[in-house]
């Protein structure tokens, strides 16, 4: 179990890294919208976390961990991570603001880069990444709650 914890936490820096990337140079990338079922009720912060997986009670385990829905000034944001064999194999925003072109542009880039970042940082066994300035607090708050559910 501790090995799992180690692997997950070591990706945090990489996970949150991507949200600050400029988007203007990237084209329209396909975004996995996932199941955008959560909280259509709008801006209210609804901490309706869902956890599904085979984790044995208190321990961190394989499965998916969906973070809280966090209200931001642009709309609700919610992040989901998938953990398999002690590693984060996928990380997606299942809910995000898409009310205007700028939001879509950001999301179109943020989500694929997120997945790539996870894989790169895990393969490299790194604890931190230097070089990015990140800005989006809503994603971070939701991601943190997903990590908390993974018992970190």
């Amino acid at each position: 179990m501790r090995r799992i914890v180690l692997a997950i936490v070591s990706t945090i820096a990489g996970l949150i890294l991507l949200f600050g990337y400029r988007t203007s140079t990237m084209g329209a990338t396909v975004v996995d919208q996932g199941s955008t079922t959560a909280s259509s009720s709008g801006q209210t912060q609804a901490p309706q976390s869902t956890t599904s997986g085979s984790g044995g009670g208190a321990g961190a385990g394989d499965g998916t961990f969906t973070g809280d829905t966090v209200a931001t000034r642009w709309g609700p944001v919610q992040v989901r991570i998938t953990v398999s064999a002690g590693r984060i194999t996928a990380a997606t925003a299942v809910t995000y603001p898409d009310g205007n072109g700028r939001d879509q542009q950001i999301n179109a880039v943020a989500l694929p880069v997120l997945a790539q970042e996870v894989l790169t940082s895990q393969s490299a066994r790194i604890d931190h990444v230097s070089g990015a300035t990140v800005t989006s607090e809503g994603y971070i708050a939701s991601l943190q709650s997903a990590l908390d559910q993974a018992n970190l």
Partner: protein, 275 residues
């Protein structure tokens, strides 16, 4: 793969306009007192931001700039930072300068370039000094500028990847660090936002400069100064005792100072070409 199974824990909060994460490694990371110490660190960072933010009209820095507050009457932290800003200007031959030309004439004081590294380093140091955390590894990451310490004798320290500015998600190299800081200055995330304080012109010769050394504050200052210095930056960094750097030129050429030579491009530690 390492066999170390040391417990770890991480916290993330948005402070100073950045995501700031605190990472601890060691036996007591789940001790309730540790969570309180982490909360206190975030609280202090917020207090520092309230003093120094140039975006808040009610911050002490803003009030010093508008003449409502004399530096002599300001919080002692402002005077400490003012001295560090002067030292930074001297050590970088003016490549770093907190005094900027104001749009309305005169000068404007923006110490942000010193405050961020100083505050992050201070948070890491105060956590390392918490008695429960004796013998623990501590790191604080403020938007990609990272301060670390390693209190465990058997620790290999923290492994810090330096991002390839041209390929987000890829790394130029990985720096193992037990004590000190790593800071990156560059144009990838924010465009040409670094200007030579002596000429006012944007720094364009380098795309990114990462500096590693015993202090995050100085690594950050030197990274900014390296960007300003441009083509002469590598020779200048070589002359700084205890600090090393990785530079990416506007043309995409990557160079590293001698202290990082073992980790430089072409070596096995380099991960950019792994995948």
């Amino acid at each position: 793969m390492t066999t170390v199974t040391m417990p770890r824990r991480a916290w993330v909060e948005q402070v100073m306009g950045l995501p700031v994460s605190i990472h601890l490694r060691g036996a007591a990371v789940r001790d309730p007192g540790v969570a309180h110490a982490v909360a206190a660190s975030f609280a202090e960072l917020r207090m520092i931001d309230a003093l120094f933010s140039t975006y808040r009209t009610d911050s002490e820095v803003s009030r010093v700039n508008t003449g409502q507050l004399a530096l002599a009457d300001a919080h002692p932290m402002l005077r400490e930072i003012a001295e560090l800003c002067e030292l930074a200007r001297d050590r970088t031959d003016g490549g770093f300068d907190a005094r900027l030309p104001s749009p309305r004439g005169g000068t404007w004081w923006d110490p942000s370039g010193v405050v961020k590294g100083w505050a992050t380093e201070r948070a890491a140091r105060s956590l390392a000094a918490v008695s429960t955390l004796a013998g623990h590894d501590v790191s604080v990451n403020a938007g990609g500028d990272i301060a670390v310490s390693s209190g465990r004798r058997d620790s290999t320290g923290w492994r810090i990847g330096v991002e390839d500015p041209d390929r987000p998600g890829r790394l130029l190299l990985v720096v193992p660090l037990r004590q000190g800081g790593v800071a990156t200055s560059g144009t990838a995330a924010r465009g040409l936002h670094i200007h030579d304080p002596r000429t006012g012109r944007p720094a364009q010769a380098l795309r990114a400069a990462t500096v590693v050394g015993p202090s995050l504050l100085w690594a950050d200052v030197y990274a900014t100064a390296a960007m300003v210095r441009g083509t002469g930056a590598q020779a200048w960094l070589e002359g700084l005792p205890a600090y090393d750097g990785v530079l990416v030129t506007a043309e995409g050429r990557v160079t590293a100072t001698s202290g990082l030579a073992g980790l430089a491009p072409g070596q096995p530690e380099v991960l950019a070409a792994d995948r």
